[in-house]
Symmetry: C2
Subunit: 467 residues, 2 copies
């Protein structure tokens, strides 16, 4: 009576494209551009390469009233090896970013969602051209996705000897688009990306053939993020099972030290003693716990035990200077300051919250401060009202700091983490995780206090001037 | 250098649970309850059965500070056959609702996302007990999900002869929860479900052992929705390929008539003539079109051709009476009216927009009308600001109807469709599809006009009274 069947994850994201952010042709154009640009930035500044990003949006002739564009993004990044190129661009849930490291990408879906949207709306394939740093060849593949099997289908491929030292990737695909409705958001996205990445050289060519150039203004790049081991706080039973299955450690002591970050020998011994496990016990023995009760107890104890906080040097924050410079470039404020907090943890992932506050200059005086959100250096533009930063900002009572609305205030919030808890696959807003909320609130309140001090000083100066 | 790998869709929803709506223990409790309740309602009113739904939320002892609940939902629905029971509850992207029919469920993820959340936070399995109408046995399975393989693992199963005629399903699982923070939303969800389903008998037992009863107040049920064929408008190349692959039709004429809804013989002949295909051509020949250009042209022509609109009798709207009764029960308004629009189409899916407007009574006088959103009879509670209904409502200039804010107004919007374009897997808001926007706007404006007429009449009456 009821017709039961399974669906592949490629069919799923082709059919329910709005779940990945492709809800209409304007939003889809924006999403396609950002998925490709975020991949290019991960492949450059994530590996210590000064980014050169070229974004082309070109009108495509259409036999009917559908509006089509070709979107092409080219970078000088680490490139994609030819062996994984088909799956990287043609298999949903395939990624090099499933490790514990701060990257813009995380789901293994992004470019594939764009490929599926292009395939469904234009019937055409994606073209990828790439060469890695050491390689003597440039590889080209044109492919589409076999949705039933979630596998790439290569329609054409070629390779040619590399004439010089170029390395990087060029991705090109045709999609149904709505440039007039997408334009302001796309420009905002690229501009806000450039503002916090002054070391990046970005060129955007619009369908009107207008060229918008964001030149590199510094060669100084932040340290790239590093891959780390999991932190014991917030580890769940499934992850612990996986770690015990994969570990080469012969004893529980070795397991705790080797497989986790922030766990030294003394801490490991103390923890094992607390939960009553012998330090020389073989880790694999715990996998015999078939009803999961012992593993659940270990996970709960880990959550409560006082381990050192996670290393913050593996994350790659923007830093107060860069935030202040960015806000200054955008608004020429009369006052600006920024805070970068020490790393905290949620669900075993370290995170750093950074907030900048600018006052005056060309900032319009509004009932609510302007909020600029960033996560892992990605500007977040849609879904503002659902974001944890907005909820925190909305609750701030500026009167407590004798700051009366309307006032010319911009608040920039950046969250850097090995896992950003986005509310959806389209990465537009961060869900309200309590630990994040607390950190964002602490920053904004501290900056409000500092703004208050500046305004008081300004008032005293004005008072003194009048005498 | 980069470590490429794939991930199963079960691993994906376990790791990124916030994408499915499980972002914190309060939200997860709400989501778990609603996923189970929506499955139970689909299994009852979707099949002409007067629903009896029992929801139990019980505190569970926890060895640490984690707060755990057991959530149990029982229904008298069509039941789950034992052969598909393991996959229905243990395989992500497995569903009986991947057909073209108006149901609350659509993704094949819901209950599995809850099972994964329970498994990850408590280490325990889900228990399912079920019996279908004709069966002489009741089946019980306890299972968890093998995340790497996206397969169910049965830890215990049993069957026993059915003593009577019971049919239905009982699902029970333990999860980390936060009842105090979830309570008001859970109560709102159940109450708003009951308001538009007065034929349903719903009991909710809270962790405080309080029993909240929503008795059935009518035995009259709307016609259940029916499965239909796709409509030619908005068919995409992939779907057309699939239909051509699966069809038993020997000619293109037969294909158009048999595989689509709203296409009769005359229309089919006219359409085939328009696109220059012989009506006796074999459909499978079109699959030889390897570059997809011919298929893309057919799809585009389908989109532009004037086919009859889709049947609206396959959808199951609430109807104006039910909406008015519901609003009256909630607010005892001095004026209430409702509109059910004829069916329209977006992306090949028929949809009906219904709007109710209530004025006065116990409605508080606010700057913005209160918005109650429903989609396929599911109350939507979170993400209001991102919903297409909210965006339409926000743009309404009530002054144009001489209605001055603050005013005591409630607007109820229900969208019924064979596919609701939710913005996320957690089903809390509808994305801004232009066709939906137009219909919602048309309804609200018409009801604003009618409210205006009532208010004018009321003013004239008051005027007459004063003389
Ligand atoms: N421009 C590029 N340069 C180098 N590698 C790339 C590039 N674009 C994609 N890749 C590789 O392809 C993989 C898949 O990309 P995709 O966007 O689908 O997923 P992701 O970036 O890992 O995660 P997300 O879904 O969050 O974007 C990446 O993990 C990366 O290894
Ligand atoms: N209470 C129930 N009675 C009958 N069948 C059920 C019940 N609960 C689940 N099922 C069956 O299990 C399948 C899977 O349920 P699940 O909630 O995962 O997906 P869905 O309801 O199809 O879609 P969605 O992800 O949108 O909820 C359903 O399609 C339905 O066939
Ligand atoms: Mg990506
Ligand atoms: Mg469901």
């Amino acid at each position: 009576l009821e017709n039961f069947r399974e669906m592949s994850v490629a069919e799923f994201f082709a059919k329910y494209r709005e779940v990945a952010g492709f809800s209409n042709p304007a939003r889809a154009l924006y999403q396609t551009i950002r998925e490709l640009v975020e991949n290019s930035l991960d492949a450059t500044d994530g590996h210590g390469i000064l980014p050169e990003i070229r974004i082309f949006i070109e009108k495509v002739n259409s036999s009917n009233e559908k509006s089509l564009c070709r979107v092409t993004v080219e970078d000088n990044g680490i490139g994609v090896p030819p062996t994984v190129m088909p799956e990287a661009f043609g298999k949903v849930l395939f990624s090099s970013k499933y490790v514990i490291r701060q990257t813009r990408g995380m789901y293994g879906i992004g470019v594939k969602a764009a490929v599926l949207y292009g395939q469904v709306t234009t019937g055409s394939y994606v073209e990828v051209i790439s060469s890695t740093k050491g390689s003597s060849y440039i590889y080209m593949k044109r492919l589409y996705i076999d949705m039933k099997r979630n596998e790439p289908v290569i329609v054409e491929e070629a390779q040619w000897r590399k004439p010089g030292l170029w390395h990087g990737t060029r991705v090109s695909l045709a999609i149904e688009c709505d440039w007039p409705r997408a334009k302001s958001r796309v420009l905002e996205y690229v501009k806000r990306t450039a503002i916090i990445a002054p070391y990046a050289d970005i060129i955007l060519q619009t369908p009107e053939e207008e060229i918008i150039y964001f030149p590199r203004t510094t060669r100084k790049m932040p340290k790239p993020p590093r891959e780390s081991k999991p932190h014991p706080h917030g580890i769940d039973v499934e992850t612990l099972k996986q770690m015990l299955t994969n570990t080469k450690a012969k004893t529980m002591l070795e397991f705790m030290e080797a497989e986790f970050q922030s766990v030294g020998k003394i801490t490991a011994l103390k923890f094992l003693e607390t939960i009553g496990l012998k330090h020389n016990m073989r880790p694999k023995k715990l996998l015999k716990d078939s009803n999961g009760a012992i593993l659940a107890r270990i996970v709960d104890s880990m959550r409560l035990f006082k381990f050192k906080p996670p290393r913050s040097d593996y994350l790659s924050p923007l830093g107060k200077e860069l935030i202040k410079i960015g806000l200054t470039r955008m608004y020429s404020p009369e006052w600006v300051d920024a805070i970068t907090r020490p790393a905290r943890v949620y669900q075993g992932h370290p995170f750093i919250v950074e907030v900048g506050l600018a006052y005056g200059g060309s900032i319009p005086s509004l009932e609510e401060p302007i909020l600029l959100r960033y996560a892992n250096k990605i500007p977040l533009i849609y879904e503002e009202r659902e974001d944890v930063s907005y909820k925190v900002l909305k609750d701030i009572n500026w009167k407590n700091y004798e700051i009366n609305m309307p006032a010319p205030i911009v608040v920039l919030v950046h969250v850097a983490s090995t896992k950003i808890p986005y509310r959806g696959v389209g990465k537009e807003s961060i869900s309200d995780v309590p630990e994040l909320e607390q950190e964002i609130r602490a920053c904004i309140l501290e900056l409000a206090r500092r703004l208050r001090r500046y305004l008081s000083y300004k008032e005293r100066e004005a008072e003194a001037m009048r005498k």
